[in-house]
């Protein structure tokens, strides 16, 4: 077992948890305001693609990260207009955003770089730097957790956000602009999710490939549900899911004496999803969503 549980496993857990923490914290702001965010996957991809292109062209990963986050904000704004202004079904619109980000980056990169949907390799010295095997983006992600906790529970903005998510009509009566707040929360979720995606393309690896988030946006969503929409549990859930992903690396090569695999990686991969279903069904404490989640707010109604 020593071959599986090593210091490398610890570092890869941190690595895999990083994009999840960004995305899940982003999702938290959106969903706490009452807007479902299935689009996390697409927002991450927007960040990953933009960051990779900008970093490759300017050789500046921090500018790349910034532009990636802005791309996430822009895409999230489109999503927000669709679901807040036009009251589109939030799941359907979010799903549309995800499909868009599967196609659009691939379309653009094959046009720009004449490749099948990936960007050019960024030079090693131009990706986000690491300190002792821990990427600067990971440090940022973990620093965001207490910050988000503070914002959510100790600031007027956080109070309003939670009020809007639980009871928009009451918040409106108390003078909070529900629509403005929701726009802000959704755009903020785009910024954070895109940072998580940017980490994938200019931190963990050094180029963008088509659909490179590989479902991490949905894992982040699962972590958010598992954590009952609370920042510190979000971090723990992301660490746990990062751990399950990290486990698949040593497990893939680890064989029993008989030559059979000890535990097929597929079962480890399934774990986060099975756990989410169990938690949603209420077997491990009730996971209660913000009350107005998914319901558009319309003053006249």
């Amino acid at each position: 077992m020593g071959e599986i549980f090593s210091i490398a496993l610890f570092f890869s857990t941190i690595r895999f948890a990083t994009p999840l923490i960004f995305a899940a914290l982003g999702g938290m702001f959106s969903e706490r305001s009452g807007v479902i965010n299935i689009a996390l996957e697409g927002l991450m991809l927007a960040g990953a693609f933009t960051a990779a292109v900008v970093t490759y062209e300017t050789s500046n990963p921090f500018f790349g990260l910034f532009c990636g986050m802005m791309a996430g904000a822009f895409l999230a704004f489109i999503y927000a207009v669709s679901v807040i202004k036009f009251e589109a079904d939030q799941v359907v619109a979010g799903f549309g955003i995800n499909i868009l980000m599967l196609g659009l980056p691939a379309l653009l990169s094959s046009a720009i770089y004449d490749s099948a949907g990936s960007t050019e390799q960024i030079a090693k010295e131009n990706v986000l730097p690491s300190f002792f095997d821990i990427n600067i983006a990971s440090l940022l992600a973990f620093a965001l957790v207490p910050l988000c906790w503070y914002v959510l529970y100790k600031t007027p903005f956080g109070l309003r956000l939670r009020a809007v998510g639980e009871n928009p009509a009451a918040a409106d009566a108390a003078g909070v602009s529900v629509v403005k707040l929701r726009y802000f929360a959704v755009v903020l979720s785009g910024v954070l999710a895109a940072a998580g995606g940017a980490y994938l393309s200019i931190g963990q690896s050094s180029l963008f490939t088509r659909g490179m988030t590989a479902g991490r946006g949905f894992i982040a969503l699962a972590a958010l549900i598992l954590a009952k929409w609370k920042p510190v549990p979000v971090m723990l859930a992301c660490l746990f899911f990062g751990f399950t992903e990290a486990l698949t690396i040593p497990l893939a090569s680890y064989k029993l004496a008989s030559g059979e695999v000890a535990l097929p990686v597929q079962f480890v991969q399934m774990l986060p999803y099975v756990l989410t279903i169990i938690v949603l069904a209420g077997f491990i404490g009730l996971s209660r969503a913000p009350k107005s989640l998914g319901i558009p707010y319309n003053k006249e109604k």
Binding site: I38, I78, S82, F86, E87, A88, D89, V91, V92, A93, F95, G96, I97, N98, I99, L100, L102, G103, L104, A106, L107, L108, S110, A111, I112, A116, G117, R210, G215, F218, L221, A222, I225, P264, Q266, F267, Q269, M270, Y273, V274, T276, I277, L280, A281, G282, A289
Partner: protein
């Protein structure tokens, strides 16, 4: 006038998609007219083209109907992808085990030839397996929603990932031909092959994988229409979709309808296996679906959750899918990813216009 209102938002959405898509094509310095010509101009020119277009259309009809039936009950089934994965694997499994071939299980040869069934039994058995297993996988989120109230969207997303991991596990460890670099099962027995359309139509090349599954898909459009609008069960299902509390007041159990709707939806998604496994590839191949389960959502949305609409929406997207290949080859910069971009814009516009077409 009603029909005009029904097709208003789909038409606007398609037009918007082509305009936005055209702008994107211009931005990457290519010719939108040539691109769109390649996209829609290669679908009906010859029997071969037509055959391929209808082949692409077949799974889109099944998944479109699957999503539409769930929609009519007020449910969003994002899980068609997972449902068709488990169904396709199970269908291939039955086709292998009862198809008279020697089966390799975990590196050991097992002779199952004594269990081999003739075609007239094996084909219906394989089809029933596709429907039953897809239906079972769809029933799980239905049951979870009815029993625990947990949201079907999250559960179907999770079940997609679980389905794909599970099926990949069984394929990799039990049903792969040893030494095969691809993640695919052994071939199904020949008795499980369903006839291809090329056998009936002279001039249709034999390699065109269009099979009788297409005719089954058309039949399902009719059956779903009859079920939803001409039977008591369909009425009850729709009543729950329109207004669950009113339906319950009227003596209809929403919980029961939710489970029924998700089971039917999963069964329809599972039928994708008929065309793909029994009619085209003759084995289960991992990643075979090309996201067709997710395309079903776009098909149902564009088709306004009506079987006739699903038919035309499936045809529309099939044309795009087929045309994407030509766009890839014939244009200088545009790749087939444009098709996904168009699909996404259609989805976003239909969803955003929903409010205006309801009134």
């Amino acid at each position: 006038m009603k029909i005009l209102r029904e097709i208003f938002s789909p038409l606007i959405a398609v037009a918007a998609a082509f305009i936005v898509g055209g702008i994107i094509v211009l931005l990457i310095k290519d010719n939108p007219f040539q691109t769109y010509y390649e996209l829609v101009g290669n679908s009906f020119g010859s029997l071969k083209d037509l055959g391929y277009t209808l082949f692409y259309m077949t799974p889109l009809i099944f998944t479109g109907l699957a999503v539409a039936v769930a929609f009519r009950c007020g449910l969003l089934n994002i899980g068609a992808e997972g449902q068709l994965y488990v169904a396709a694997f199970a269908t291939a499994w039955v086709g292998i085990k009862f198809g008279g071939t020697v089966v390799n299980v975990f590196g050991k040869q097992e002779d199952w030839s004594w269990m081999s069934l003739p075609a007239f039994l094996l084909i219906p058995l394989c089809m029933l397996t596709a429907i039953a297993v897809g239906g079972f996988w769809g029933a799980i989120p239905g049951f979870l929603k009815a029993k625990f109230g947990s949201h079907e969207v999250i559960n179907t997303i999770m079940l997609n990932f679980i389905a794909i991991a599970l099926v990949s596990y069984f394929t990799q460890y039990y049903y792969k031909v040893p030494g095969d670099p691809l993640l695919q099962t052994a071939p199904i027995g020949e008795a499980a092959h369903i006839p291809r359309i090329s056998q009936f139509i002279p001039g249709m090349p034999e390699f065109v994988p269009l099979s009788v599954a297409f005719l089954i898909a058309i039949l399902m459009c009719v059956l779903v229409y009859i079920f939803l609008w001409k039977t008591k069960w369909g009425y009850e299902l729709r009543a729950v979709g329109e207004n669950p509390s009113a339906a319950e007041y009227g003596g209809i159990s929403p919980k029961k309808q939710i489970i029924i709707a998700m089971t039917i939806s999963g069964g329809l998604a599972g039928m994708v296996a008929i065309g793909e496994v029994l009619g085209s590839r003759y084995l289960y191949y991992h990643d075979f679906s090309g996201d067709v389960g997710f395309w079903g959502i776009a098909v149902a949305l564009l088709g306004r959750n009506h079987p006739l609409g699903v038919f035309f929406a499936a045809l529309f997207f099939a044309v795009l899918q087929r045309g994407g290949i030509f766009v890839d080859i014939e244009t200088k910069y545009v790749s087939k990813d444009l098709v996904e971009v168009l699909q996404a814009i259609v989805i976003l516009f239909v969803a955003s216009l929903q409010r205006y077409s309801k009134k």
